[in-house]
Amino acid sequence: MGLFYNVFFKSIHAQNEDAYYGIEDGNELLNFSLTDHNGSDVNLSRLKEKVTLVTFGYINCPDICPMTLSILKHTMNELGSEEDKIQVFFITIDPENDTPQRLKEYTTFFHPSFLGLTGSSEEIEKIAESLKSHYPDEDGATEKNHLMSHTFSIYLLDKEARLFLTYPPSRLNPRAIAKDIRKVVN
């Protein structure tokens, strides 16, 4: 109940009108080389095309990943006609099992504009480190193992591709995230 309460009630009421709901950062990202689910390259310069929301996960994740993508879907709904001003990236931490085609089927289920990203473990680790996202070194999410640990957060990157805001588990209210996005893009 605590997490639910924080996400949907307490956090939004506590929000100062001028302050950002997300936790402010300013971390520069190291360059990286990933591929989106359509086969296009994604690197630091691609991130500068739009304000982006980034999250990590894997397809055979039953609880946290669908929850995070649902929150992002509701955030897009909150943005309404402004939803095309941002790009959501879902970066797999299980590149062996999450092929581009599977990532496409997975991410677009939540929203047609969401893009799944994959690449070598080294490149995924690079951007994860830049975003201070952690995932312990484990085997992939096989049929028998669906227990990959990973950071449960959403990251907002500005148009300079800097980590600008982080949304940890206690700050995942879609309306409040959408409000931050409007401040950043307008």
Binding site: M1, L3, F4, I59, N60, C61, P62, D63, I64, P66, M67, S70, R102, E105, Y106, F109, F110, H134, Y135, P136, E143, H146, L147, S149, H150, T151, F152, S153, P168, P169
Partner: protein, 139 residues
């Protein structure tokens, strides 16, 4: 006459007590996931209105090959980890919530994709209260 009334009253109360289920399951639902995913989670609220502690010790459903009870914990670095547990304690007089990011039932190796709006039949097995069948809506 008084004895007859008292006897009937006792009978009604006794039957009522027998019929009262100490475990109440409220709002069971299944997370809608894309067909490409073979796993999903089930959430609900379980209330133990009885005088004794109970436990959720198992889950059965025809929707998936495996159904496990899990908890998700989030550490100080916001790293979420899932842990399979043997049972979920249901203390007397308490409400236990299975919610996203917390305790949940994991359905592994779904036999077919789940569809939004459909209801999945799930048997919840309790240590003392036996089996309770619920219909969980896919949302």
């Amino acid at each position: 006459m008084c004895n007859v009334v008292a006897g009937l009253l006792f009978l009604v109360l006794a039957l009522g007590a027998l019929g009262a289920e100490p475990i109440r399951v409220v709002n069971p639902w299944v997370r809608a996931v894309p067909p490409v995913s073979s796993v999903t989670a089930v959430y609900m609220v379980i209330e133990n209105t009885g005088d004794t502690n109970d436990k959720l010790i198992g889950v059965r459903t025809a929707a998936s090959k495996y159904s496990d009870i899990h908890t998700t914990t989030i550490d100080q670095h916001n790293v979420a980890s899932m842990l399979k547990v043997e049972y979920l304690p249901l203390p007397s007089g308490k409400i236990v919530e299975l919610i996203p990011g917390g305790a949940h039932i994991m359905l592994r190796e779904l036999y077919r994709p789940v569809k939004i709006g459909e209801k999945i039949e799930i048997d919840l097995i309790f240590e003392k209260s036996g089996t309770i069948r619920v219909q969980a809506e896919v949302r």
